[in-house]
């Protein structure tokens, strides 16, 4: 069993959170509020250090001549806080407008290329790139799946006849996708429980090596 006080605190807080599975109780609520409070404190310090100290104060104190332009970034940051005032809240629109415009400018071309153009290319060239008969079948299934799913979401034509058939095949592919997604989700959730049990059995109780 661990002699480290921090491990004991972590273990007891873990058990406090687990106690909610039996029923709502004050120990659980205490642990929950503690988590919210500690997280808020941690993030405020981390954001201030990383955003203000590291990005502005240190570079400017080292070489003001080369880094004076950072003052504009700092000023824009301060203007964001004017949203807290009814009288001066309008001033926050300027940094928001800058951020939205700049964000859209560099977001749209990159995302379009990575999420649309390269995906289309990857799908269409999959059969040609297949190295074995099994890979070829897999590639054609992929192409059929993509096309039938796109038809399912195409609502400008009534889903009957060949379009209806393709649409129903699209539903099957979607169901397979949801099933795989659910399986992965279960795996993720169970892993979180495994992580806590590993901590309790290994770090705290020392039952497992």
């Amino acid at each position: 069993m661990s002699h480290d006080p921090s491990v004991w605190v972590t273990a007891l807080l873990t058990l406090a959170i687990f106690s909610f599975l039996y029923r709502e109780n004050r120990i659980f609520r205490f642990a929950e509020h503690l988590l919210v409070g500690v997280s808020a404190g941690y993030y405020v310090v981390q954001y201030f250090y990383s955003g203000v100290i590291k990005k502005m104060v240190i570079p400017m104190s080292q070489d003001l001549g080369a880094n004076w332009v950072l003052l504009f970034g700092g000023l824009f940051g301060v203007l964001m806080f004017t949203r807290l005032s009814r009288r001066y809240g309008w001033a926050a629109r300027y940094p928001i407008a800058f951020y939205v415009a700049a964000g859209a400018g560099y977001f749209i071309p990159s995302i379009l290329e990575a999420n649309v153009l390269k995906q289309i290319g990857g799908t269409l060239t999959a059969p040609a790139a297949a190295a074995s008969p099994a890979a070829m079948i897999s590639a054609f299934v992929l192409v059929a799946g993509v096309i039938s799913c796109l038809i399912y979401f195409y609502f400008s034509v009534e889903h009957k006849g060949p379009v209806g058939t393709a649409s129903r095949i699209g539903i099957l592919f979607l169901m397979l996708g949801f099933g795989a997604s659910f399986g992965y989700t279960v795996m993720g959730r169970i892993t979180l429980l495994i992580g806590r049990f590993q901590f309790l059995f290994h770090d705290w109780l020392g039952w497992i090596g």
């Binding site: 599975l21 709502e24 990383s50 590291k54 990159s110 990857g122 992965y184 495994i194 590993q198 059995f201």
Partner: protein, 311 residues
């Protein structure tokens, strides 16, 4: 225990409405089963294989093999950008792969430039990096560096293509990056051999867009299980060269590098938990259809149970 068998309605999270005049027999027991029994069963399913380990065969998937190939293709002295894109909520899933990858990189003599796109990733990144460096006797500044957290992940990813030193004027500890020997000849994606993103969110996809599509940066990723399914299209289109999905991905990679650790040890619990969920899904569906066939869940009765559940 008697309280577990007959809970007061609504007293526990997710306790069954428990209709007094509901179905009887085994179907009735199934319908009124308190969810706390399921929690207990899941706890046992996860705990028992941990206390009495069972070594299950681990089949290596194509994407993990591809990930392994990318790491093995690196030569000593190559530089890798390693991004800890996760926070404590998914440590259980991503820490095993992080530790395995860092161990492999340091063992191969690869230089690691680490950073995080999450404020909550600073403590995790620093601790994992320092622990791995200690295990391999690596020196800060020449073998590895931790740049810390930079606000605005999209701007950070894009600007790293122009200059690491301009994006991170100082490292996590306030030391000017211009004075760090490791960064003397490495200042942008063009100098980086491989990008490794370990992410608990969509950030691997954004790395593929901003560093991959825009700058042609070669990359691999490690992702939570929930996120892994969204990575397949990027892997299939060649934008992400290989990836590890969840604890299973970590277990496969640990097996490949012959370093069994937390990932491999967790597979027994993982399998038992999965089997339990499958059994519960089947039991729930069989019970539902049997009750519907017997007319026990129809019309007003079903709506009454639902109304009672909502209230």
């Amino acid at each position: 225990m008697s309280e577990i068998q007959r809970p007061a309605p609504g007293s526990a999270p997710g306790s069954a409405p428990g209709p007094a005049s509901g179905p009887r027999g085994s179907l009735g027991v199934l319908a009124a089963l308190d969810r706390r029994w399921i929690y207990l069963a899941m706890a046992l399913a996860v705990a028992i294989p941990m206390l009495a380990p069972v070594r299950l065969p681990i089949v290596i998937s194509k994407e993990v093999e591809a990930f392994h190939r990318e790491i093995e293709a690196l030569a000593p002295g190559d530089q890798v950008l390693f991004s800890f894109d996760y926070e404590p909520d998914v440590m259980a899933e991503l820490d095993p792969m992080t530790e395995a990858i860092l161990d492999r990189l340091f063992a191969k003599g690869i230089q690691v430039i680490a950073m995080t796109n999450y404020a909550g990733g600073v403590g995790i990144g620093q601790a994992r990096l320092e622990a791995a460096a200690r295990r391999h006797g690596k020196t800060y500044g020449t073998d590895y560096v931790f740049l810390g957290y930079n606000p605005d992940w999209s701007g950070t990813m894009l600007r790293l293509g122009e200059s690491i030193k301009a994006t991170f004027p100082v490292d996590q500890f306030g030391r000017p990056t211009a004075e760090i020997p490791l960064l003397a000849t490495c200042d942008a994606y063009r100098d980086i051999e491989l990008l490794v993103s370990i992410a608990g969110s969509q950030l691997s996809e954004f790395w593929a867009a901003y560093a991959g599509a825009r700058y042609g940066q070669r990359m691999v990723s490690g992702n939570t299980a929930i996120q892994a399914i969204f990575i397949y299209p990027f892997y299939q289109s060649g934008q992400i060269k290989g990836f590890l999905g969840g604890l299973k991905g970590a277990a496969e990679y640990e097996t490949l590098i012959e370093r069994p650790a937390f990932g491999v040890r967790g597979m027994g619990s993982q399998s038992a938990g999965h089997l339990l969920i499958v059994a519960l899904v089947i039991a729930g569906n069989v019970g539902y259809f049997l009750m519907r066939r017997k007319g026990l869940l129809q019309g007003n009765r079903l709506r009454a149970v639902e109304r009672k559940g909502r209230s």
